[in-house]
């Protein structure tokens, strides 16, 4: 791999679950060998990095986010050597690899916790957060509201309470203990030395607790991140930290620090507002959240996404916005989970190809590194009748044949049922079918990614919002090193006209980037554009 300390800025990241991607050994679940086998698909798609959901040893009570061994590979996914082989093959194809680091908590089956709970005198006792009563940290909210009533759980062994911000079987580590910090650095070093390119830091806002606070985003938490980042910069300058901090933009800003904490952070509040804007047919939610998004250090980058392995989170919206999103996107109450909606992109867009394209167009053109969730590039559906968030983690649909081409096992042995309904079923929605058509969603996504990667304006450029009178049209100009791109999107289900004030770019010729067609030169008059329903333009503004 070429050395590039800012590689994450130009990346197009693909999030996937090893278990869900490809099963090469016929046991009904994917593993690293299978994933390695499918790297050419990812290369062909055009992504430049993959983010893997947890693959470590785990009792799998939270789909691997409950880790019982930070430096191993769950046998179901293969061995350390299988992972190394996958890593090498990915790098050979210029695909970087980002793995999960669940900093905040372990599984209650982790040896550390087993030791900690065995006795109050155990050396690992202080690796977790204990209390004689459940009264501490009262101001901390409960995150998994559907299943947890408290952030404290009673431990029968040591007759005391332990702190857990997530499931009760995921005790929080105690970052006030320097030993914990050192050990987590050791864990990081283990994977980074192996060649992993980046670490997604799961649940970082919750690392440290203090009474009288919300126990989120505390200064002490940032101290932990600075500590880890310092070690990273000293030893692995090309590697990246990606913070998962589901907070308002001004609070996420802190996780970049002064470029001395995380390199990237997810822009959670942006995501639901993309859906909202299209449903409302009004750019206001997007404009508002972008206006509230603070500037970040030049070496830092937002991570933007449409969907992921979790529910579409509605934590960072107002009550009215939440109600609206539920009413519009979760008409079936089963789609609601915690404070979110557990549906995939295509069902949320009611299989409307135009809206799916528009959202992906926004994903690829708004400031930030885009992250595609596996399966969304072919418009996979979901299954809200599966528990927890499993409905959006079903097997990848490779073809219309046996087990969707995912596995040779007996169908009953699959780790999850396939999506098989007439609209999104694997017989209809699959890679092989779409690979054969130039007009499929998959083919279109490849072209979109190709155009995105054709210039660094999208990945590194500034953004200037335009304000056409027509509120259904979102327009902005991205600029980097003199190159300018005009993006105009119709958020409405009806054709729209918009007059844009482009006098600042007077004299340039807009060249439509997908087809190469030149448009009339920009002059003094408002620039009139008409757009079909949900259509968007990307124009390179050229001085000709």
């Amino acid at each position: 791999m070429q050395s590039d300390p800012l590689w994450y800025k130009d990346a197009v990241i693909y999030e996937l679950h090893v278990r869900a991607f490809y099963d090469s050994d016929g046991d009904g679940a994917g593993e690293f060998k299978g994933l390695t086998y499918k790297l050419d698909y990812l290369k062909d798609l055009g992504v430049s990095a993959v983010w893997l959901l947890p693959f470590y040893p785990s009792p799998w009570r939270d789909d691997g986010y409950d880790i019982s061994d930070y430096t191993g590979v769950h046998p179901a996914y293969g061995t350390i050597d299988d992972f190394k082989s996958f890593l090498d093959e990915a790098h050979r194809r210029d695909i970087r690899v980002v793995t999960e680091l669940v900093l905040n908590h372990t599984s209650d089956q982790h040896p550390w916790f087993q030791q900690a709970r065995s006795s109050r005198d155990n050396p690992r006792r202080d690796w977790y957060v204990w209390s004689e009563s459940p009264d501490r940290y009262k101001d901390a909210r409960i995150i998994f509201t559907d299943t947890e009533q408290s952030n404290w759980a009673w431990d029968m062994s040591s007759k005391s309470y332990y702190w857990h911000r997530f499931f009760s079987h995921q005790p929080d580590l105690n970052y006030d203990n320097p030993a914990v910090r050192e050990e987590m650095w050791n864990v990081m070093r283990f994977w980074l030395e192996m060649g992993v390119d980046g670490l997604r830091l799961d649940a970082v806002p919750y690392l440290v607790e203090r009474d009288g606070t919300s126990c989120e985003n505390l200064p002490e938490t940032h101290d932990v991140l600075k500590f880890l980042r310092h070690r990273l910069d000293e030893n692995f300058p090309d590697k990246m930290f990606l913070a998962e901090a589901n907070q308002w933009p001004q609070d996420v800003r802190a996780y970049f620090g002064s470029a001395d904490e995380c390199h990237m952070a997810f822009h959670f509040p942006l995501m639901p507002r993309m859906f909202m804007a299209i449903k409302l047919e009004d750019r206001k939610p997007l404009v508002d959240v972008l206006q509230r998004t603070p500037a970040i250090p030049p070496a830092c980058q937002w991570g933007i996404f449409l969907r992921n392995h979790d529910e579409l989170t509605l934590e960072m919206v107002t009550m009215d916005e939440r109600d609206y999103m539920y009413d519009e996107f979760a008409k079936d109450a089963r789609a609601k989970l915690n404070i979110g909606i557990r549906r995939r992109l295509a069902p949320l867009m009611e299989s409307d190809r135009r809206r799916i394209e528009l959202l992906n167009g926004l994903l690829m053109s708004l400031p930030g590194t885009p992250i595609i969730y596996y399966g969304d590039e072919i418009g996979m559906g979901d299954n809200i009748y599966l528990g927890d968030r499993n409905g959006v983690r079903t097997p990848m649909q490779w073809n219309g044949g046996w087990n969707a081409g995912f596995s040779g096992a007996d169908p009953e042995r699959l780790y999850s049922a396939l999506i098989s309904n007439p609209l999104y079923g694997y017989q209809v929605v699959n890679v092989e079918s779409q690979r054969r058509s130039e007009h499929s969603l998959l083919s279109w996504m490849k072209q979109l990614i190709r155009v995105r990667k054709s210039t660094r304006v999208f990945s590194r450029g500034t953004m200037e919002m335009l304000h056409p009178l027509n509120h259904r049209v979102l327009a902005y100009v991205r600029e980097f090193e003199g190159e300018k791109i005009l993006i105009v999107s119709n958020l409405s289900s009806q054709a729209q006209a918009a007059e844009l004030d482009l006098r600042r770019w007077k004299g340039t010729v807009p060249i439509e980037m997908f087809g190469g067609s030149p448009f009339p030169r920009i002059g003094d008059l408002p620039y009139l554009l008409t757009l079909g329903p949900y259509h968007f333009y990307w124009f390179r503004l050229r001085q000709l």
Partner: protein
Amino acid sequence: MAETAQLSDEFIRQLSAVGEVDVLVGIPTFNNKDTIERVVRAVQIGLTKYFHRDRCVLINPDGGSTDGTPDIFKNASVSDFEIMLTSNPLRTFHRVSAPYHGIPGKETALRTLFVAADLLRAKACAILSPTSLSVTPEWVESLVRPAYRENFDFVTPLYQRQKFDGLLVKGLLSPVVRAAYGARVREPVASDLGLSGKLARHLLDKKIWDEDMTTFGLEIWMTTTAIVDGFKIAESFLGPRIQPTPQFGQDLPGTIRQVVGALFKCLEMHESYWPAHTGSQALPTFGFQYDVALEPLKLSTKSILDNFRSNIDQLVPVLESILTPATLADVQKMIALPDRQFRCPDELWVKTIYEFAAAYHHSAINRDHLLQALTPLYRARVSSFILENAKAPVSRFDQRFEELGQEFERQKSYLIDRWNAKAGGDR
């Protein structure tokens, strides 16, 4: 089909940018710089609070204000919604300001709004007076909701008025509408009202817009047309109504000429409808009604009576062409009463109004002169009412006006007889 010839290109451009809407609120203005900002802010909060998911637009047809009203309209804003509300609005707040062409006046403004409602396919509209000092965000919800969510077409307001405010409405306009059209519309000439998009488009298609509008009161026409054409009507309680300091008698002849003339004209327009109906129905009323203490209007019965007496003698020859001899004799007896005992009984008042209406219909004399002649008689009626109710609580007034309404209904057959009698007969 909407007639767009009177809309400026800029206005059409702005409407095009807004696109289809669910709710349209209009505030027609002409030199209202002192009060417009408050109304705009109330509308903005009201739309955000009650219709935050709906596509809304606020339109200001302005008749050529020279005091900066349009600029105030454009710039009035609620800068921090979180103080007023729990959250920010979901949608872009559209505010369109455009002067309209044509004669400055309510009629042109309303037509502009109806054309806009048609172009934008608005489902419901509300029109608010630019001078309401007591307007609240809840007025928007009260006027829009019955049309937008409850399938009503015309929503008239119900106010809590100051004592002795609105006597022309309550003492003449409302009871005539009640008796003639069978609907107990308590505010038939209100500047604050709601209507469905369907009704707006229906009114727009009427030929009335091509007539000379300056002497016509559109509000009464809208009310009566809605009744006659079978639209569903409701009232909605808005609360206290406080206007910039009203002065009784200020351009009273002009007001009577306009609104009473409009009422009589409507009777003519609808003469195939109202004679056939008897009785009246109360309207469905929305909103929780409450009272607050309001300062009563300060009216001097002495000056009103003096004004009446000073003009009446000159008008007797005119009144002879309008009233029957019997009614005129009763009027003259009334003139002779000393101030303390001055009374204009309901029966006499109703008969007088009906005879004026019939005389208007028959064009017994020039209609403007006829209406002008009504003015002193109206002053007499007001004086009588004030003297009779000077010490009565406001709560008694509803009953009092109900009695008056029943008297208008009771004498409806008399109106029909006078209306159908030959011109000049029986005077």
